[in-house]
């Protein structure tokens, strides 16, 4: 059994010595990539698929950034067993996720919840897409309507290549 690398997480102001220690330790952490493979017997392919999905969407809390399906950390193994146990008891994916979120917080799930404080996350990209598209169309349409203004800007002669392109289908 291994200790979780608690030393790493707690030094806010590392001394010179521990800095070296940190470097080595984190490299060592990075190197711990033996794949974890557990053998669970499920009653149905659906249960097996749910197990796969859940273990891939749950985060191993002590790892750098890994789900519990891939991590060989001890805690990840415990959590996998817990998940398998629940599935065999017939619990649903939502129930199992809720169970773990209750204990470890939102950090444990890779699929962020849709909530008041995460609404930005889910909507902002689309808002940006729509606003951007609107602004783009408006600026093209406006410029298409008015003739090229003959202010003090230098007129750009289209390059010969551009001209050729223009007449091409």
């Amino acid at each position: 059994m291994t200790a979780f690398p608690r030393i790493l997480s707690l030094n806010n102001k590392p001394s010179r010595l521990t800095r070296l220690g940190l470097t080595i330790l984190s490299l060592w952490l990075l190197a711990s990539t033996a794949v974890a493979i557990d053998v669970h017997q499920f009653e149905s392919p659906e249960q097996e698929a749910l197990y796969r999905q859940l273990t891939e969407e749950l985060r191993c809390l002590v790892c750098q950034n890994q789900n519990i399906a891939d991590s060989d950390a001890d805690l990840a193994r415990d959590l996998r067993n817990e998940v398998a146990e629940f599935i065999k008891q017939g619990k649903s994916g939502e129930e199992i996720t809720a169970y773990l979120v209750q204990r470890y917080g939102d950090f444990v799930r890779y699929n962020p919840p849709v909530r008041a404080d995460t609404i930005v996350l889910w909507t902002l990209p689309f808002l940006m897409l729509f606003v951007g598209a609107f602004a783009l169309l408006r600026s093209i349409r406006r410029s298409g309507q008015k003739p090229a203004d003959n202010g003090d800007t230098k007129t750009t002669a289209p390059s010969p290549a551009a001209d050729r392109e223009k007449h091409r289908s």
């Binding site: 059994m1 291994t2 200790a3 608690r6 997480s9 707690l10 806010n12 002590v62 805690l75 204990r103």
Partner: protein
């Protein structure tokens, strides 16, 4: 007028967004991204029923510990940081400011006993969580971790990592005073 506003938006907006962005990044520097606050703080501690390390046939339940506030220290003989914090845990227990219980996590009882023999046993009692189920209920993700549980069985505080003099001074003592006052 309108034109100057649109120029302003086009020209200055990216800069403003960028400055906010850099401030966000700066806020993250030096923080530890691996420290995860527990969602259980302020909530009742999960139920447990675990054998005592020294008398394996005696089962200790959450209900048995109600009526007093205590520190539940999660440790294992396999965990080097636990050894580092052990003198401090011992000092806390000896000083009598708060009763300390141990939660021996995923450990072989023989190893645990040998470890306590070697480094001293400050615990009022040691609960054995061989399978690690109770630890999951408590949201433990590494050792050492320590929970402060009050008279009503509510988790008031969680220390992730070693208990240091600073932790005792800044986190435990004020909380103990509060609990003493019955808050």
């Amino acid at each position: 007028m309108k034109r100057s506003r649109s120029v302003f938006i086009k020209a200055v907006l990216p800069l403003v967004v960028f400055v906010a962005f850099v401030l966000l990044l700066m806020s993250g520097i030096g923080k530890n991204p691996r420290l995860i606050p527990s969602p259980l703080i302020g909530k009742p501690a999960p139920e447990f029923a675990l054998p005592s390390l020294h008398q394996p046939d005696r089962v200790i339940r959450k209900g048995d510990l109600l009526g007093q506030y205590y520190l539940l220290n999660v440790w294992g003989s396999w965990c080097p940081s636990c050894r580092v914090e052990h003198p401090m845990v011992t000092e806390v227990a000896r000083s009598g400011i708060i009763p300390v219980y141990g939660l021996n996590w995923k450990d072989e009882p023989e190893n645990a006993k040998a470890w306590l023999q070697r480094f001293g046993d400050p615990y009022r009692d040691v609960l054995v969580d061989y399978e690690g189920r109770t630890a999951i209920d408590f949201g433990v993700y590494g050792a050492p971790e320590s929970f402060v549980i009050d008279q009503k069985g509510i988790i008031r505080h969680k220390v992730v990592g070693e208990i240091t003099p600073q932790v005792v001074q800044n986190e435990l003592l004020p909380l103990i005073r509060k609990m003493e006052a019955g808050q």
